[in-house]
């Protein structure tokens, strides 16, 4: 009951911010349309809907980090969290209360991307539903990052880190916009040590029904999601529940 009340409040705070609607739901769709238009004129295999749509669902998650981090940082700055710490809410209520409301937004964003792609000609398969399911561990990673950044930084810093740096890192190191083979070398090696490209390739494998390729990428994503979640919980508790 306490947890549901608190997460309900957090959902309202996020969804009532007009930037959420634009960046969370609208922006990935705009990019999908734009890149598909480029693909129609100058065919690039990377921008085919079967590659682009799964990639865009992952790119959209970088905004989830921004939403959760901004909310937590704002609550800390306004002493709203201080008020709640004197209430019977437990540390678990806080952590789940901030994380849970993001999940429905993640699913809505993911399905909206696929529905747009279907309208644009992506073949309808049951794998879309599996892709929506496999987006959840990826989302966990991005949400945990939000909890971590929101606990460590103020609203302004969160805007720079998540709004600019993380979205760019997700874009460059994920192989959504350009093939990492084109750059190769250290850049490619670094990209494959980070979770972004694995998240995109996981989604592409699920959508393509390529079962053999799922597990290796899933392991990377789960590993990063677990590490980010543990770090987020520890830092959140240390910074906010002292």
């Amino acid at each position: 009951m306490k947890l549901l009340t608190f997460s309900g409040r957090n959902a309202k705070e996020i969804l009532r911010d007009p930037l959420t609607a634009f960046f969370g739901l609208g922006f990935p769709i705009v990019l999908l349309l734009l890149l598909s238009a480029i693909q129609a004129n100058i065919p690039v295999s990377l921008f085919e809907l079967k590659s682009l749509a799964p990639g865009m669902t992952v790119f959209g998650l970088s905004f989830m980090t921004l939403f959760s981090a901004t909310l937590i940082a704002r609550d800390r700055e306004s002493t709203f969290l201080q008020r709640l710490y004197t209430s019977p809410l437990t540390a678990a209520d806080f952590i789940f209360g901030y994380a849970l409301p993001i999940l429905p937004i993640v699913l809505a964003q993911c399905l909206l991307c696929y529905v747009t792609a279907l309208i644009m000609g992506l073949p309808a398969t049951v794998n879309i539903l599996y892709a929506a399911l496999y987006i959840l561990p990826v989302a966990l990673f991005f949400i945990a990052l939000g909890l971590l950044f929101g606990s460590l930084f103020n609203v302004k810093q969160v805007g720079g880190l998540c709004g600019a740096l993380l979205t760019n890192l997700t874009a460059w190191l994920s192989g959504i916009w350009f093939d990492l083979e084109l750059v190769g070398g250290m850049f490619k090696k670094t990209a494959y040590l980070l979770p972004f490209v694995h998240a995109v390739e996981l989604e592409r494998a699920v959508f393509a029904g390529n079962a053999a390729a799922i597990l290796p990428h899933l392991c990377w994503v789960l590993g990063y999601a677990a590490a980010a979640s543990i770090a987020a919980v520890l830092v959140f508790r240390a910074r906010n529940c002292a």
Binding site: M1, K2, L4, T5, F6, G8, R9, K12, E13, R16, D17, R74, S78, T79, F80, Q82, R83, L84, Y85, T86, S87, P88, L89, A242
Partner: protein
Amino acid sequence: MEAIKTVNLTKKYKDLTAVDGLNLTVKQGELFSLLGVNGAGKTTTIKMLSCLIPPTCGDAFLNGKSIVTDTAKVKEIIGISPQETAVAPALSVLENLELMCGIYGLSKEKKKEKIAALSDSLGMTDILARRAGKLSGGWQRRLSIAMALVHEPQILFLDEPTLGLDVLARSDLWEIIRSLKGKITIILTTHYMEEAESLSDRIGIMKAGAFLALGTAEELKEMAGTEKFEDAFVTIVKASGKLSPADGGNL
């Protein structure tokens, strides 16, 4: 009966002693003000009493419950209106109140009844549908106090409740605080002399984490040999003679 009793309550941050062996007793229904210059230890004291930070040593008992060993029970009986704005800005006034009701587990009927009563007594009935973030500073503080009162706390902490408000908004909040006097125990921190003098049953003047003096406004003026309370405060702070902890928080 004692609502609050602190026993050598101390908070240290590395080399800095923010609160230094505080011994204080506050009676039930009393409005006790903590007064002091910046860094005197007022907010740190409130943070310890409201279980936001643990004491380095010592303890405090709120209606007999320890802030060190019984924090969950203490949290059930306290309400706090923190310094600055502590409302959910994208939620309406009604939603903010409902949020606090839900967090404290009030039943549907109780929630409705409590919100109606608080809105009425704090004059917020007409603004229930308005977004909290769009309210003026005075209304936000009023909402903040209402949010601290939904679960009928036995002890209320008001940390600089009128800071930055205009004269009218401050006067309105004073009326609200006066209306609560005697019903619940209130601990108030403030920088405003007239606020402390006008509202408090007793006042503790703090400096460097300890009490310099403690008593009613009249007693403090008498002690300093001044007619105005502000002059008494300045005289006492400048003299800086600490009360011994053995005085047990009495003049």
